[in-house]
């Protein structure tokens, strides 16, 4: 299109420039040609005119002379006449140089003529002999009437002619006359030519000139008798016309010629001969035969073109005639002379007129064409560039599309993956549930020693961790797909991490690595967040450190960077009321499932450090270790194992919690990971201050621990809290200090405190002592200090026995501590035993236990009996361990502040009643119980009831004794699969519950409505399934259900069954309906979902519609039991 446009534009431009120029030039050229031709014609005309004038003049003169001499007419006179005539004629002849000849032929045959030979520039006088004149005169009379005929002339031939050369200027005879043959030289006009008496014209040729001659003849009349006496002829050469033409053509170029009407060439602008020499004499040539090439061609063209209708009278103007190789303009003009019409032809080469124009037009055309070609090329290039850009874009787009496609496919495959994981997690959960269940059974076993029990508990903890890991695999796929949603639940951060460290310390001890937990006191106790994820973060970090640390220590530090420090860092004075109410509030809160938890923003930034003394990470890898599948040193994979995913998950999780993690430079070997998390804290949690002012109790602690780090951190902390500390790292040091202090103490030597105590503290100690409140001395001994390889440890124990009365001993055991040692310890009455590692919470417990014991001593004044019982009660740390990681959010192990003074006693009573129950009390260590117990101290009845509940807990974990643990509970089971219905019913009934089973959601809703509306005992038959186990009496007896077990899919599959008309509801809808129904009333019936899906998205959906808990199929008996108990507890 563009090309065509450009081409058209070019052609148009060219056309207009050319056409207008051509037109104007053409008109100019026409004028020029006309002018050019006109001039020779005018010249011709002039020549003709002058010839005529001369002739006329000659005639008039002749007439005059002849008339004058007519009368005498004598012979002599005649001669005189001729003389006069000769002179007159000469005068005329001389005056006209252009004349070729003047002839006078008299009637009597006498001829006079002047002739000018232009070639030789000679002038001749020619005359005839007198002798013959008479003869001819006689003859003339004969044929007087017949006029002059040719015959008479022919007769003249015999006459003798003479020629005299003349001086061209004067006319004098210069030479002798010669005889010449008549008519030899020139044409003498005879009478025959003027037969009609008028002037005649014709063109002649002569031997002596090479140009044609124009001759005119006029008769000389004898006036009286009206007869012709003589004929005058004038001959003019046309040579000058040719000369003019030549000049013109020289100036203007081109060719010109004149022809007669018949086509004989009269004059040309060339030098080509005009005459043809034939044997009969020279003859005029036809223009078509001209020797000049151009003239011949032009003439031929004219003849060819206008052959038939060639009318010389028509002027012809032909343009662009191709003659030979060039183009010419040919124009002809017609000159109509009487008797001698002439045709002039001019041939002008086109290049002369139009040459410049043509050239200009040509160059214009060339320029235009080249310009258009250029434009075309440029346009093409532009288009090419444009299209290449476009094609590039298209390519990119195509690539993008393919990428999108690939992404979609990848997403699909990731979808498959998560599907797979969902199925797998289901498969994996089942055996894990079995393992956990079996462990529960084992724990319930009576014949376990404490150590075995601890081991089993540890196994259970590990299994729980494994199960958690499985769940994490599920979550990892969620993290990858960016769908991870963090929970926002209240949890005890310290408790969680202590549990974690406990778990890891088992592995840690094997490695000869010390695990230390170092949290600053300002750490908030309760935080809102996703406990599982937080634990996951630290589990990964610690296990990582563990992997790469072969000896030394792993320290987990934590401190708080609080945004509202003001309220927080204040150390509350110990207030008896405040903590208690706080605890109660908390239990309440827990019961209502976070209903009261204010969502007020209380963000705190908690910093953590995981510091190990392992092989460390090269500084260049500090960033890349957080990538997937990356280990600092690939060669370590074989020795340490691992996928390299751990830190990646950690970073993702930390980032999700608005935190950051990085590796920090540290002095000495090892790695220092620093991270911070932004967590919410519940508002009221800030008020909880569990700090016990140990300073009041005047305690002194001797820390004899193996691990340097742990020991120094612990002693630092203790001193900060007003507890005097001594440190010993080995046995000898221990004995030395013991001897120094305890023996010195007996003599009340203040100087013995010189080592660690400040002056104020020591003076205070002194005061207290005086006030009959002996300072408590606690010795914490790491079992590793004893030499267990030989039997020396027995000696060592014996040595320590001496101090048993003076100080309290607390033992720190390893997991692999020899049983014999343990037995020995127990035998000797060392009842305060905790597992490694020793961290703050455990320390607090030890101290509290000591304080409590002392207060008990004071209270009862019976030290000896208590000592026995302490054996059990002081195993709190053990049990606490077991419980910590499982029920972190329900139990509050550090709730033993001053209230805990009362704590011990009920426990003792419990112990008496059921020796093994306290453990389970601790397993299900809930705040409800803790807060109830102190009040029940003086109310034995209530205490029994609380024990009864605990009994339930105990039984719940065993297959045998767990019977009737659900006694009195009324459970509505909505389950459509008959098999499941049956199984679940039996399970629940075995547990003592009363079960009503319905087939779908609608029935469940109706049953519930019926129950709540028709409590008077109206019996109504509900539409139930054939196999439903509900008995009418149940309806009668029970006012309402305590709990509903709801299959999520219930009724859904049945709704396809066309035979059933009733519209069904699935579990979700039924739950919604029930919740709607409950609106406005106080009641809230717990609903537990049953589903075969293990994905937590289902869980989310369940909770969303208003269900309270979630169980996966196949039903795990214990899990179901514990869930039901938790949910029904608050209803009861």
């Amino acid at each position: 299109m563009l090309a065509i446009l450009i081409g058209m534009l070019t052609i148009l431009t060219w056309h207009f420039t050319r056409v207008y120029t051509t037109k104007s030039i053409n008109s100019l050229a026409y004028g020029l040609r006309y002018e050019l031709l006109q001039r020779p014609i005018l010249r011709m005309w002039n020549i003709l005119n002058s010839t005529v004038e001369i002739t006329m003049a000659q005639v008039k003169l002749s007439e005059y002379v002849i008339r004058r001499y007519d009368k005498p007419m004598a012979q002599t006179a005649k001669g005189e006449v001729y003389e006069v005539m000769r002179d007159v004629t000469w005068a005329l002849f001389a005056s006209r140089k252009a004349l070729n000849a003047i002839t006078i032929s008299y009637r009597n045959g006498f001829v006079q003529a002047f002739h000018r030979d232009h070639r030789s520039n000679n002038t001749f006088y020619i005359y005839s002999d007198f002798a013959n004149t008479s003869l001819t005169a006689t003859r003339k009379s004969v044929s007087s009437h017949g006029g002059w005929n040719d015959q008479s002339l022919d007769d003249n031939v015999s006459a003798i002619w003479y020629r005299e050369p003349l001086d061209p200027v004067t006319g004098k005879t210069t030479g002798n006359s010669k005889k010449i043959p008549p008519d030899d030289l020139i044409d003498i006009a005879g009478l025959s030519e003027v037969a009609d008496g008028t002037a005649s014209w014709h063109v002649t040729v002569s031997k002596y000139t090479n140009s044609p001659l124009l001759s005119a003849a006029l008769p000389v009349w004898d006036s009286p008798n009206e007869s012709i006496v003589a004929v005058v002829g004038v001959t003019t050469a046309l040579y000058s016309v040719g000369q003019l033409m030549k000049e013109l053509v020289d100036f203007h170029s081109g060719f010109m010629y004149l022809t007669s009407q018949e086509g004989y060439v009269l004059a040309t602008s060339t030098n080509a001969p005009l005459l043809r020499n034939l044997s009969s004499g020279p003859k005029l040539m036809m223009a078509v035969d001209s020797e000049d090439h151009m003239i011949r061609l032009g003439a031929r063209w004219l003849k060819r073109t206008y052959d038939d209708k060639f009318n010389p009278r028509n002027e012809i103007h032909a343009e662009n005639v191709r003659l030979g190789k060039h183009q010419y303009y040919i124009d002809s003009f017609f000159l109509n002379l009487k008797r001698l019409p002439l045709v002039g032809v001019i041939i002008i080469p086109r290049s002369y007129v139009m040459g410049k124009v043509d050239q200009r037009a040509f160059t214009t055309l060339v320029i235009l064409i080249s310009a258009s070609v250029c434009i075309l090329v440029v346009g093409c290039v532009c288009i090419l560039i444009l299209t290449s850009g476009v094609s590039k874009e298209m390519k990119l787009r195509a690539e993008l599309i393919s990428h999108l496609d690939a992404r979609r496919r990848a997403e699909a495959s990731s979808n498959f993956k998560s599907q797979f994981l969902a199925n797998m997690s289901h498969e994996l959960r089942t055996p894990m549930a079995a393992v956990l269940g079996l462990l529960d059974i084992l724990i319930c076993d009576d014949c376990l020693s404490n150590e075995q029990y601890a081991t089993v508990t540890q196994i259970r903890k590990c299994s729980t961790a494994l199960l958690r890991l499985l769940n994490n695999i599920l979550d990892l796929s969620k993290v990858e797909s960016g769908k991870l949603v963090l929970e926002e639940a209240e949890f005890d951060l310290g408790r969680e991490l202590e549990g974690l460290v406990d778990m890891f310390s088992v592995q840690c001890i094997n490695h000869n690595v010390e695990t230390v937990l170092d949290f600053s006191d300002d750490m908030p106790k309760l935080v809102l967040g996703d406990s599982a994820r937080v634990v996951q973060i630290f589990a990964n970090l610690i296990s990582n450190s563990m992997k790469f640390t072969s000896s030394g220590h792993i320290i987990l530090r934590g401190w708080c960077e609080s945004s509202n420090t003001g309220t927080y860092t204040n150390k509350f004075p110990l207030d008896q009321k405040e903590p208690r109410s706080a605890v109660k509030a908390k239990s309440n809160q827990h019961g209502n499932h976070g209903k009261k938890t204010t969502k007020k923003d209380n963000k705190i930034v908690i910093w953590f450090e995981v510091d190990d003394s392992g092989c460390g990470i090269d500084a260049s890898k500090w960033e890349s270790v957080f990538e997937s599948f990356e280990q600092a040193d690939p060669s370590t994979t074989r020795t340490h194992g691992g996928t390299g995913l751990g830190l990646c998950i950690v970073r993702t999780l930390v980032n999700q919690m608005n935190g950051e993690i990085k590796v920090v430079k540290k002095d000495g070997p090892g790695t220092l990971m620093q991270l911070y998390l932004v967590l919410n804290t519940p508002v009221d949690a800030l008020r909880q201050n569990d700090q016990v002012l140990f300073a009041e109790h005047n305690l002194t602690v001797l820390l004899s621990l193996n691990g340097t780090k742990g020991r120094s951190i612990m002693s630092c902390w203790l001193r900060k809290n007003g507890v005097q500390t001594f440190e010993a790292s080995e046995w000898n040091e221990l004995t030395q200090i013991l001897q120094e202090i305890l023996q010195g103490r007996n003599t009340i030597a203040k100087s013995s405190f010189k080592m660690q105590c400040s002056a104020i503290e020591s003076s205070k100690a002194g005061e207290i002592e005086i006030g009959n409140l002996a300072a408590e001395f606690i010795i914490i001994v790491d079992i590793g200090l004893l030499d267990s390889s030989t039997n020396i440890w027995k000696e060592q124990l014996k040595f320590l026995e001496k101090y048993l009365g003076k100080a309290k001993f607390a033992w720190i055991l390893n997991h692999d501590t020899n049983n014999a040692i343990k037995l020995e310890l127990r035998r000797k009455g060392h009842s305060m035993v905790v597992n490694k590692p020793l961290y703050k919470a455990k320390m607090v417990q030890i101290l509290e236990a000591v304080i409590n014991e002392r207060s008990l001593e004071l209270h009862k004044n019976g030290l000896s009996t208590i000592q026995d019982n302490l054996h059990d009660s002081l195993e709190i740390p053990f049990n606490y361990d077991a419980a910590s990681s499982e029920e972190s959010d329900t139990s509050d192990g550090r709730g033993f502040n001053s209230i805990s003074a009362f704590h011990v006693e009920p426990k003792l009573v419990e112990r008496i009643m059921s020796p093994q129950s306290s453990r389970f009390n601790e397993v299900n260590n809930s705040l409800v119980e803790l807060s109830v117990r102190p009040t029940s101290q003086n109310l034995p009845l209530k205490m029994v009831s609380s024990d009864r509940k605990e009994q339930n807990h105990v039984e719940s974990c065993k297959v045998g004794p767990m019977k009737n643990s659900l006694e009195g509970l009324r459970i509505l089971l909505a389950e459509d699969t008959p098999v499941l219905q049956k199984v679940a019913t039996i399970m629940l009934e075995k547990l003592g519950a009363m079960v009503s089973a319905v087939g779908d959601g609608l029935q469940a809703v109706e049953a519930l409505k019926y129950m709540s509306t028709a409590e008077e005992g109206r019996r109504r038959k509900l539409p139930m399934r054939d196999d439903e186990t509900i008995s009418p009496t149940h309806f009668h007896e029970l006012p309402a259900f305590d709990l509903i077990l709801m299959d999520c899919q219930v009724g859904k599959s049945l709704s396809f069954d066309a035979s059933r008309e009733m519209p069904k509801m699935d579990g979700y809808e039924a739950t919604k309906a029930i919740r709607r129904f409950e609106e406005g009333t106080e009641s809230h019936i717990p609903i537990v979902a049953l589903t075969a899906h293990a994905m937590s998205s289902d869980e989310a959906k369940c909770l969303e519609v208003g269900m309270d808990a979630y169980l996966t199929k196949p039903i795990d008996c214990k899990l179901m039991l514990s869930t039901i108990l938790v949910l029904t507890k608050r209803v009861l």
Binding site: P431, V959, P978, V979, L980, K982, V983, K990, D1047, K1113
Partner: protein, 152 residues
């Protein structure tokens, strides 16, 4: 047959069922639930299951025979079967159900048909196995012995 021998045979047979994956722990739990108050509990449940599974398999067969298979319906049936089979511990039936559901999601009729065949096969297999088991138990009971609990 000697009573102890019969008892041993029963134990062997039961453990072989577990070993070969016909049954899993869920069945053990069922057995534990059975006691004097409902001595035929396991038998009842299993019978219920086979009634249910037979019905479901028949419905599945019908559903898959249709011109336009309603996979939602098929999926619901398979889901139900999966729930009940996992409840009695018929592990292999359950596994087939899991695979079946995957094909259901793919809407692959041909594979679903194959799964249905497999399902029928597994179902009848576990049925005969359990029938044998119950027969053995019955023999022991009639001989006056007690049924030994299988435990690992």
């Amino acid at each position: 047959m000697d009573l102890t021998q019969m008892q041993r045979r029963l134990v062997d047979y039961t453990s072989s069922l577990f070993r070969e994956g016909y049954l899993d722990d869920q069945f053990t739990q069922l057995q534990q639930l059975q006691d004097e108050s409902n001595p035929d509990f396991v038998f009842e449940v299993v019978t219920l299951f086979f009634e249910d599974s037979q019905r479901l398999i028949n419905e599945l067969g019908e559903a898959l025979d249709q011109q336009n298979v309603d996979f939602k319906k098929v999926d619901a049936h398979v889901h139900q079967l999966k729930g009940s089979s996992s409840s009695i511990g018929a592990q292999r039936v359950k596994n087939v159900c899991v695979i079946f559901r995957n094909y259901c999601e793919e809407r692959n009729t041909e594979r679903c048909m194959r799964c249905l065949q497999q399902l029928k096969h597994e179902n009848s297999l576990v049925k005969t196995k359990l029938e044998t088991l119950f027969r053995l138990q019955q023999q022991i009971l009639t001989a006056g012995g007690s049924i030994p609990m299988w435990s690992e």
